[in-house]
């Protein structure tokens, strides 16, 4: 089972600054393990971020994204309490969804 994501969404005037940290090995398929065997590719292919149910960012990734990927984006027109939901799907079909509310600026 995939590990939960860390998501932080902070409001800055009328824009939500969203930062996501996912837990994923992101294997490139080029690395060899201790026995000299190639570690098969295992990476996140799709990330969909929605704001109150509407897709704001639809990302397609390759294996070149770093391990435990970070993704930062900005959502215009957001308000405190809006729902930001993040779903990723990897090349093995594994998927995980997490959701946060936009926090008011402190």
């Amino acid at each position: 089972m995939a590990e939960p994501m860390k998501i932080r969404a902070t409001l800055q005037v009328d824009t939500a600054d969203v930062r996501i940290l996912m837990q994923h090995p992101m294997e490139t398929g080029q690395r060899k393990d201790a026995k000299g065997e190639i570690v098969p590719m295992h990476f996140i292919q799709n990330v969909v971020i929605t704001h109150n149910g509407k897709t704001v960012l639809d990302a397609q990734w390759s294996q070149a994204i770093s391990r435990n990927p970070f993704l930062g984006l900005r959502v215009k027109g957001a308000r405190a309490g809006d729902r930001i939901s993040v779903t990723w799907t990897d090349n093995k079909g594994d998927t995980r969804t997490d959701e946060v509310a936009v926090a008011a600026p402190s």
Binding site: R31, A59, S66, T89
Partner: protein, 151 residues
Amino acid sequence: MNQLRRTLLKFSGAALAVGTGLLKAGEVFAAAWNKPAFESKAVADALKNLGAPNLIESKDIIITAPDIAENGAVVPIAVTSKIPNTQSISIIAEKNPFPLTSTHDVANGGEGYVSIRLKIGETSNVRAVVKADGKFYTAVKEVKITIGGCG
């Protein structure tokens, strides 16, 4: 003329894939993973498979990346597009075994900004390709790598 034909072919291909049930229901929601573009080994091929053979150099794209990255396994890259109606941002590490690293489609208030962390194999240009109003714009920044991140 030829360009139009390419676009049409691609569209009908996608329609076919959906129609014949090659794609699972869950994947239709997300844009289909652009396999040919991600598996291209040359930058030109990747651009062609992205549908962007002709790029316009633009100063409205800002790539924020370190000049020298010590660890190629984690290179923070942020791309800001000030071009109106930005539809997508793709990031290409030109000397990686597979140059195209990511494509981000923005919509519904998603701003022309994305920040990620990349693996980069060796000192190389990082190219951002921004699609806005159906046109493709580009900008480049060189990142020097001390220890490669593709091993």
